[in-house]
Every structure is written in C-alpha cells, then in structure tokens.
C-alpha cells in the first residue's frame, strides 16, 4: 500500500464509533480526501489537538485498496488558527468556506490553486481588521473560477456588450452573468429568474477580487453596499448552480436575514 505525505486543511470532522474520527481534508497534491484516524478520540498523542476543523496539517496517510477512505497514520500541526475558534463570527465564516469547499470539489481531484486559496482565506479571517464576510466574498469569487463556474462580470453574456455601455448591471443566475436591456427584451420569455441589480462599485471590486494576485487581495475594501450585494450574488449564484444550499449562510454575521432562506 502506498504511503503519502501532504499538506492538508481540515474541512470536516466526524466522530466514528467509540474512538475513531473521520476527517475530510483538502490536500495540496490530491485535492479533497476523506480519511479515518483510528483511536483519534482517545487522547492518543499522535492525534490529540491536531485533527481539528481548519487546522493546517502535514499528514501521513495510506491509501486503501478496498475503500475510498484513506488511513491517516500521522499528523503534524502546522497551524491551528486560534482566532477562528475564539470568535464566533469568524468561526461561522470559516465554516462557510469549508462547507463550500466540501460542496464544490470531488475527491482525488487536485487543484493546488484551491489549496492555496483555502489556506489564504482562512488566514485572512484570523486578522481582526478583516470583517469575516469579506473573507467569504473573496474566497467564493475565486472558488467559482477554480471549479469551472467563473462569474462572468465583463459584459452581456448574450451579445458581448462590454461593461460601461452595459449599465445598469442586471445579473441573472440562470445565465451565470449579465444580460443587457436589449437582450432582455429579446429573450423576455426565457429569462425567468429575477434580475440581481449590482452597483458599479460592486462589479468593479468583484472584478478585482477575481484577478488580483493573492498577496494583494487583502488590500480590497468593500463598502457596505458592495459587501451586501456581493454576498447576495455569491450565495444565489452558488445555490442555483448546485441546487443545494450551504447551512452556514444562515449564521453569517452582517448577512441580511431576508436572503438566508
């Protein structure tokens, strides 16, 4: 059996039986994996305090021939991001990021850029200057691109009319982008879902959030309007594509109750 070592971020922890834990993690070189850690619930030195949500670990695991579960042999804690457990709102934002990663990825489908984004985003949330919801916006804007559902923010998805001419910006989840007013009239019957109007400022900052390198991303500052529009947009967009909702949205601080549904 093949033994592997990888950097990994813990996305979900489930108790299993009397003394084991089942951990879902996002690894740097194999993407999402699910593994069992035998004896992890007893205070076994090799696991205690390590197999925790959002922890960054160096994992040693063995693939199993008979099951998709890998066997976690050893874990070294790289960082545990304490603020994500000491502040409820940051905990919720981190949970939403982890839950979205679980929903949008397949096992054994490596995407090193997503590992990097995930690590960056959780780290972003540990800075007390950053509102937790901004971390969610930055993460989701880029996640959708990485999983092949790029938010189309450059022009009308029907006729290609580019941004400044396109205004007002009406985003349609069913079209995964903007539809200009001329195309809307033409498509009348087939565009059924309500338009999500976006302010120019929101579109501009989301465009930046998509393309800036990670090292520059923490410079972005959202106005209250851009923050609230971006959250509604990213939530509705993901929910429409996946046809399922992430539970954590219901508890995100600063996100209007009207959209939680």
């Amino acid at each position: 059996m093949e033994s592997c070592s990888t950097l990994a971020i813990v996305l979900e922890v489930k108790e299993f039986g009397e003394s084991d834990k089942i951990i879902t993690f996002y690894s740097e070189d194999r993407g999402k994996l699910c593994g069992i850690a035998k004896g992890a619930r007893r205070s076994l030195k090799r696991f205690v305090n390590k197999l925790e949500l959002f922890s960054v670990l160096e994992l040693l695991y063995t693939n199993s021939r008979s099951s998709s579960l890998v066997m976690i042999d050893q874990a070294e804690l790289i960082s545990s991001l304490p603020l994500l457990r000491q502040n409820y709102n940051r905990y919720v934002a981190a949970a939403l990021i982890a839950e979205s990663t679980l929903h949008w990825t397949r096992e054994h489908d490596a995407e090193p850029a997503l590992y990097e984004l995930l690590a960056w985003s959780l780290n972003y949330l540990t800075d007390p200057r950053h509102p937790p919801s901004w971390g969610v916006i930055l993460f989701l804007t880029r996640l959708y691109t990485l999983v092949g559902y790029d938010l189309q923010l450059d022009g009308c998805v029907q006729c290609g009319t580019l941004l400044p001419t396109l205004s007002p910006y009406h985003f349609y989840n069913s079209r995964q982008g903007f539809v200009c007013s001329a195309c809307r009239r033409r498509l009348q019957s087939s565009v059924q879902d309500p338009a999500m109007p976006l302010a120019t400022g929101t579109v501009k900052i989301l465009q930046k959030a998509k393309i800036l390198p990670l090292v520059k991303l923490n410079r972005l500052k959202f106005t209250q309007n851009a923050e609230s529009e971006a959250l509604i947009l990213l939530h509705g967009y993901g929910k429409n594509l996946l046809q399922r909702d992430s539970h954590s949205w219901a508890f995100l601080a600063g996100y209007s109750k009207d959209h939680k549904g």
């Binding site: 922890v13 299993f16 925790e52 804690l77 457990r85 000491q86 502040n87 409820y88 839950e99 539970h247």
Partner: protein, 202 residues
Amino acid sequence: MDVVPPALARLIEDLHRLPGIGRKTATRLALHILRRPAAEARDLARDLVDLHGAIHLCRNCFAFSEKDPCVICGDPGRDPALVCVVEEPADLMAIEKTGAFKGQYHLLHGVLSPMDGIGPEEIRIGALLSRVKKGTVAEVLIATSSTVPGEATAAYLISRLQGMQVKVTRLACGIPMGMDIKYADDVTLARAIESRMDTGKP
C-alpha cells in the same frame, strides 16, 4: 438480500441507525438477540418503549431525568449559584464521576455547528441566558470541549454573558496529568501557560 427474514432485517436496520454501529455489528447484535430467550427480547423492548415516557428534561438544567427538577437540581447540598455548562449528558456524567463539582449544570444538548445548521437558537443557549438573568447565578463555568466547535460555543457564550452580573469561568486547559511537558503540543502548552495557576506564595 431476501434470504434474511423481514423481521430480522428490520431489526438490523434499526440497530444500524445507532451511532457507531455498522451493518456487520448490527447483524451480529440482531442475531444475538434472536438466539437468546424471548423473555430477554421482551425486556429490551419494554425498556425501549418506557424510555420516552419515563424520562423528561429537567426544566432547570435540561438533564435527562425521571424527576423534575432532576436529582441534582433538587439536591439542597448543591450550590444553585454555580452553574456548569456542558454540551451533553455524557459530559455531565464525566464531571459527576470526579465528585469535584458541587454546583448545578446546564445542558446545551449540542454545540454551535454552522455546517450542520446548528446555531444559537438550535441549542439551549436562550434558556441559560434567562437562567442567569433571574439573578440567582453568581458564576457560570463553561465546560464545553476544547474542540473547535466547543471553543467557538464557549466564545459565543462568553460574549453573550458579558455585561450580565455574573462571573464567567472556563474549564482550564493544559498538560494532562503524568505527561512530560516536552511531549506536549504547542497549542496545549501555550494554553497551559495562559491558564497558569497562582501557587499562593509571594
């Protein structure tokens, strides 16, 4: 698999739904029950039927109990001004086993877990806050687990109890008894230093 008689298959399904019981174990348990005398199975069935009828939640601390208030809340020897907050009944039992705690409890019946749809309204946090608001509680000892959800729940409780006329304490976290400190992990060691104790000497 229609070689399994339906009554046995149903029992296997029922047992399989219990936490930590795989299909193999469920089958083994079901066959065991079948091989034992019918009276034993009837006793088991009666105990299961009686369970929900006999046991309720204590309206003060939300522990499972046949009495209301429960044995602990009804005990005049226990200090009602000291309330220990735990996640679940098993945690209460573990603390009771030590004999070191003389106050009362408050059971949350869960931890804050956004991914599972569990927020403050889904566990017994509101009831704890109203218990404190009545003014009879002097100290709340938060004894949730030192897992991420347990700690986040503690953080949430601390923020909600802030400003109320009550002392809030947290179960100390540190080096396990009998452990050489050079084998402790960084997080545990750091927490042990933060929650260091005064030895009482100048």
